[in-house]
């Protein structure tokens, strides 16, 4: 059975053929970010895949992760392509490196998870919050309810973490 929800007026439809994504977003809906964990080489991976990018094994389990990480890079969108995002300009697309599995298997590899910068309730962050975040900022996952037992991982500043004095921002800000 397809799993269905909705986000910002966009229907979310995860077909029943797409088991990894059904499981990923259902775990989020149940309140914790989980990643696929390879049964053969014991490495986690993101996003969902049908086999392990590191050893090609098809067997996996789901592993809960802390949902804490560091902004590794970001895009700050000032011109929206999708009309629904215009109301949020400027909005941030973050690449968040999770605390788990840094530098594995390669020195420069990591679990880098996409998401927008949001407030703690999962609504898109306003401009003053956007302008305070950069590479090095500590963030935690927010699971934005999509209905239908699904949730979308988003990111908010981690109130409990020690933040860098000045996160790295684009030079001309």
């Amino acid at each position: 059975m397809a799993l269905e929800g909705e986000y910002l007026g966009m229907p979310v439809v995860i077909d029943d053929l797409d088991k990894p994504n059904q499981e990923f977003y259902s775990h989020c809906g149940q309140g914790a970010l989980h990643l696929q964990f390879c049964a053969s080489c014991s490495l986690m991976r993101y996003p969902t895949t049908t086999a392990c990018p590191w050893c090609a094994s098809a067997e996996y389990q789901w592993q809960p992760v802390s949902g804490k990480g560091t902004v590794y890079s970001y895009a700050e969108v000032h011109h929206a392509i999708q009309p629904v995002f215009r109301q949020f300009l400027p909005y941030m697309i973050l690449l968040v490196e999770l605390d788990e599995q840094p530098g594995v298997p390669g020195e420069h590899d990591g679990l880098r998870v996409t998401g927008n910068l949001t407030l703690a309730d999962g609504t898109m962050a306003p401009k003053d919050v956007v302008s305070a975040v950069g590479i090095g900022s500590r963030v935690r996952v927010v699971l934005k309810d999509l209905g239908g037992g699904l949730a979308l991982p988003q990111w908010t500043l981690d109130e409990d973490a020690e933040q860098p004095e000045t996160p790295w921002r684009y030079a001309n800000d």
Binding site: Y7, P53, S73, A75, V77, P90, I93, N172
Partner: protein
């Protein structure tokens, strides 16, 4: 980063094939016609340019994102009977890859002479940045859950993590990168075909509105409607064609980084596919970046030109900002880049027009505003002032560096044929 790629292409293919014909339409916004007509026009112009007829063409290749016309339509319209054809999915980096395929199928005896085309109403019908078709309220499922759900779908939005991280890792500045647009605009001012012929300054780039940080409007390429074609055949046949052939020394096609579809997971993300491609390109071509006199480094954005030049070894890793702001890429200096003005200024063709430009350079027959002599050829002045010449003097070797994404690239080295 060193790789363990063994460049195994037989070296007897080096210099055995050539580009003998080039054809274009105008670079327009609002072509007022179909991609079928644009494609037909470009292929016919290329056949004419080569001094061939439809009967000489027996292979066709094309690429698109379902926004073009198949080879069969154009072959039918021009009376071409095909022994081989294939229409591929793809945008940037396809041209060089298809030139490699053309060499392969000719070498394998499947056909003799291949027309490669790209036709697109990239402004008036299907805008790459996506103003409609794929970005509306259609359902989020599959890969879109990890992209479009976050307002991430355009090329600028998809590549910005790489560009930003290069600034973080190496101290690259917006001013340095803006020089790519400045220089390409100077080149375009000497290109009567260019859609944008006005010269701009670094301040103009930095003052243009922000699209997707770190990209200002003028860091992004133009969107246009156009058709382009190149014709590949053997050097033996090339000698019977109208122009000096652009001899193909080496090709690398659609070379990729690890985890190509989710490349931000692997390796330093401020490095692009060129770091792998260069270990195939240069050994196969038998030359190195230091030998190249004109480059066509794909400029979907100012940053893509810089990143590729850096990772193909035209400068040290991390010094791309210095390279593009040094002036070396300017006409009259050591290694001009995109003498047509490229995608930032001339028009957007997914890379094929940059190959056409370098073929013209190697013919010593650039279509600028220099006076035409009694033999019908331009008498180049090598005065690169606005509205003047854009021929690189005595150029013998070119390189094209095609970009699809940070994780996929293709490249082509050509020499002036004998």
């Amino acid at each position: 980063m060193s790789t363990e790629i063994d460049a195994t292409a037989p070296k007897y293919l080096r210099g055995k094939y050539a580009i003998v014909g080039i054809g274009e339409t105008s670079y327009m916004r609002g072509s007022g016609t179909t991609t079928r007509n644009l494609g037909t026009t470009a292929v016919r112009n290329a056949i004419e340019d080569a001094g061939l007829t439809s009967a000489d063409i027996d292979g066709m290749l094309s690429y698109s994102g379902n926004d073009s016309v198949p080879s069969t339509s154009i072959a039918g319209d021009l009376g071409i009977r095909l022994n081989f054809y294939m229409d591929c999915q793809g945008g940037g980096s396809s041209t060089e890859a298809l030139i490699g395929i053309a060499i392969g199928v000719i070498e394998a005896g499947l056909c003799k002479t291949v027309a490669i085309f790209r036709s697109m109403n990239g402004y008036s019908q299907f805008r790459i940045g996506g103003t409609g078709r794929s970005t509306g309220r259609s359902a989020l499922s599959g890969d879109a859950l990890f992209g479009r759900a976050y307002g991430q779908g355009s090329a600028a939005q998809n590549f910005a993590h790489t560009f930003m991280r290069h600034m973080y890792d190496y101290g690259t500045t917006p001013e340095q990168v803006a020089h790519v647009k400045v220089i390409h605009s100077e080149h375009a001012s000497n290109n009567p075909k260019a859609y944008y012929k006005n010269r701009v300054t670094v301040d103009d780039v930095l003052a243009s509105r922000m699209i997707c940080k770190p990209l200002h409007l003028l860091d992004c390429c133009v969107e246009t409607d156009n058709g382009c074609c190149v014709i590949v055949t053997s050097m033996d046949r090339a000698r019977d064609c109208r122009h000096t052939p652009a001899k193909i020394l080496g090709v690398v096609g659609r070379c990729s980084k690890p985890r190509v579809d989710n490349h931000y997971q692997a390796g330093p993300i401020s490095t692009v596919a060129g770091v792998y491609a260069r270990d195939i390109l240069w050994p196969n071509a038998g030359v190195g970046p230091e030998d190249i006199q004109v480059t066509g480094s794909y400029d979907a954005f100012t940053f893509t030109t810089m990143l590729q030049l850096e990772d193909y070894g035209f400068c040290k890793k991390g010094e791309g900002g210095d390279y593009v702001s040094s002036g070396i890429m300017r006409l009259g200096n050591a290694r001009p880049n995109n003498t047509s003005g490229g995608h930032l200024c001339e028009g957007y063709t997914h890379g094929i027009a940059m190959v056409i430009e370098n073929v013209r350079q190697l013919r010593h027959d650039i279509d600028d505003s220099c006076p035409v002599g009694a033999d019908g050829r331009r008498m180049h002045t090598y005065d690169y002032a606005e509205g003047g010449c854009r021929q690189v003097k005595d150029v013998e070797l070119s390189a094209n560096l095609g970009w699809a994404t940070p994780a996929t690239g293709s490249a082509l080295v050509m020499a002036r044929g004998a």
